[in-house]
């Protein structure tokens, strides 16, 4: 086991849009330890989506190094990145991103399907994950039969199911009302207390305050890092 989950060294990302070069990241040095609860904040255009994509192994940096759970993942191929995502990263998206035609249970099973877990085992593990987010009784409902909060909980269960090195949540409460949002944040808090590493991307201060570290991004650089005060429940 490695205590440093994420370590990046001078991460750069340059997009070429036609003739213009967009420098989205300009040398990010970041370290996240096991059990950390980190919020990444920043105005739009600050590079937080880009950083999130790279940390989530959906994209690779143009320059710099990235070690995830002790492994250098900066130059991996598509398929190698897919395997890393499957094993090490649990995504939670703003728009939930569940497959609409599948039941909650089957949605949670999805990452297990791609690492070849046998069907019977899969069901068991997925059910456990749903129990963790308190949705075992909704296992056979389709996403459109669930409320927004419930959908996001299914998404969290899916993120948890492979016991990833970290959970990467991109504006997880962005599509939810504040009460439901708070419920979801409670789940994240609980997960973190049980030892899960969580990285949260948000632009809302009160959401970020759930984390134990807040990293402010501006113009592709880390502007500042703060340790928030004890969170007050809204």
């Amino acid at each position: 086991m490695n205590d440093v989950i994420i370590k990046t060294e001078k991460l750069h990302k340059v997009y070429i849009l036609g003739k213009t070069r967009v420098h989205a990241l300009r040398g990010i040095d970041l370290q996240v330890n096991r059990g950390d609860y980190v919020a990444i904040m920043g105005p739009s255009g600050s590079g937080k989506s880009t950083l999130m994509n790279i940390l989530g192994c959906l994209d690779v940096p143009t320059a710099g190094r990235y070690w995830l759970n002790g492994k250098d993942v900066s130059g991996l191929s598509d398929d190698e990145l897919a395997r890393i995502r499957n094993k090490e990263i649990g995504f939670v998206f703003q728009t939930f991103n569940l497959l609409p035609r599948m039941s909650a249970l089957h949605n949670v099973e999805l990452p297990l399907i791609y690492n070849g877990t046998p069907a019977s085992r899969r069901r068991e593990i997925a059910m456990e994950a749903l129990e963790q987010v308190g949705l075992a009784d909704r296992a056979h409902h389709k996403p459109n039969e669930l409320s927004g909060g419930q959908r996001q909980r299914v998404a969290i269960a899916r993120a948890l199911v492979n016991h990833p090195a970290m959970i990467l949540a991109d504006e997880p409460t962005g599509n939810l009302d504040s009460k439901t949002g708070a419920e979801i944040m409670n789940i994240f808090d609980g997960l973190n207390e049980r030892g899960n590493t969580i990285i949260l991307v948000t632009h809302e201060d009160f959401i970020a305050r759930h984390a134990r570290r807040i990293i402010h991004l501006r113009d592709g650089k880390i502007e500042s890092e703060e340790i928030p005060q004890q969170v007050m429940e809204p």
Binding site: P111, I113, Y114, P118
Partner: protein, 408 residues
């Protein structure tokens, strides 16, 4: 094992997807369905007809050679063949002394005549003049009475062996043995009735009368050519026999070396070979037609799969985000296109087999559905699914997960 389980998973995804787009899937697979149905029906029809034809050919006998003026399958210049001399009875008599390999040998003189018994007439009866060995060269077994003997042939006794149709038409329930019939006005005594022979390509083989060739002269005025049949016991001797007959005929007709034969030695395999060549072409044509319909069906599948990949970009993004590799996405979409086309293939096989049964029953042939035909049906539909699915599936597999996730 792991692979197999995954494949099973893709199949489940594919069937789910087909279920959600029922009408679309059905329309897409229609082309494949029609193509496979056509393949099954036509292949089965051809095979059934082949089986029928080859069954008929086998009646000719595979151990018999037939010497005559014309070859059965004319490939050269007809006018040249027409100018050949006829095979004559004199030549038969000479051949009889020269050909030793033939176990049985009989001339065949033919005419179509009216047969009379008392006041009953039967028109258009094939009248055959031959010797006693025709029992073997022509498979002319009797079911009643007997065939004529060598002595009866030698002495030109006016006896006759009649076919079942002739018996039924002229005698009804009466016993024909010993009765006198008139062939072209010449009286012959019935001594035997042939076994029922059935039809040969629709020609009634039982509507015939067989008499000694020595009495044939009386009923046929003009001297037409004859056929001489030679039979061996073992088909392996056929080539030697053919050479012996050929050599003998060339000597009889004094054909100088280097000149071609002016007679033909026919055998069953000539007909079957010719028939196979003929149907080989029709097989090819059918194959091309079916291939075209399958290609059209395949294009339909490719089109729908491309639409499906675009529609489901976000789904692909999600799957990639949770760890699907390119190959896994590729296989998923490939399974889908194969499932669509196989569905058409399975339905096509089922409907094709049923349709072939019905159609062939209508023309009174038994349908021979061979496993090969069914395999071809399945095989082609699967192949079309793979070929038409590979490009859309590849497109899906290469999608960038970030763009795919952002796709609205």
């Amino acid at each position: 094992m792991k692979r197999l389980a995954q494949l099973q998973e893709y199949l489940r995804f594919a069937l789910d997807s087909l279920r959600t787009n029922k009408v679309r899937s059905a329309l897409t697979t229609l082309g494949i369905f029609l193509g496979v149905t056509a393949i099954i029906v036509i292949f089965t029809a051809i095979q059934s007809i082949n089986r029928y034809v080859e069954g008929e050919f086998s009646g000719i006998g595979s151990t018999t050679l037939y010497l005559s003026k014309f070859p059965w399958v004319i490939t050269g210049n007809y006018w040249e063949l027409r100018n050949r001399p006829e095979v004559t009875l004199d030549e038969y008599k000479k051949l009889k002394k020269m050909v030793h390999l033939a176990r049985w040998m009989s001339p065949q003189l033919e005419a179509v005549r009216t047969i009379q018994y008392h006041n009953k007439y039967l028109e258009q009866v094939l009248t055959l003049g031959c010797n006693e060995q025709y029992v073997y060269t022509g498979n002319a077994e009797t079911s009643l009475g007997r065939f004529f003997t060598e002595m009866e042939v030698y002495r030109a006794h006016p006896v006759a062996v009649i076919g079942q149709t002739v018996r039924e038409e002229l005698f009804g329930r009466e016993n024909p043995l010993g009765k006198r019939i008139k062939i072209n006005g010449h009286s012959h005594r019935v001594i035997g009735v042939l076994k029922k022979m059935g039809n040969f390509f629709g020609f009634n083989m039982d509507n015939r009368v067989i008499i000694p060739y020595t009495t044939f002269r009386g009923i046929s005025f003009h001297r037409r050519g004859i056929t001489v049949a030679f039979r061996v016991e073992d088909a392996a001797q056929l080539d030697d026999l053919r050479e012996e007959i050929r050599g003998a005929m060339r000597r009889i007709r004094k054909i100088p070396p280097g000149k071609p034969d002016n007679f033909a030695i026919n055998q069953q395999s000539m007909l079957t070979d010719f028939y196979r060549k003929l149907t080989g072409t029709s097989y090819l044509i059918v194959f091309i037609i079916a291939a075209v319909s399958l290609v059209v069906g395949g294009i339909g599948i490719m089109n729908i799969m491309l639409v499906s990949v675009t529609e489901r970009t976000r789904e692909i993004g999600i799957r990639k985000a949770v760890g699907a590799t390119r190959n896994q996405i590729l296989l998923q979409f490939l399974s889908e296109s194969v499932a669509i086309s196989s569905l058409g293939g399975i339905l096509g096989v089922v409907v094709g087999v049923l349709l072939a049964q019905v159609l062939l029953q209508a023309i009174k042939l038994s349908a021979a559905v061979s496993p090969a035909t069914i395999l071809i049906g399945f095989g082609f539909s699967t192949l079309v699914g793979i070929v038409s699915g590979i490009y859309p599936a590849g497109k899906a597999a290469r999608l960038n997960p970030i763009d795919a996730l952002r796709y609205e």
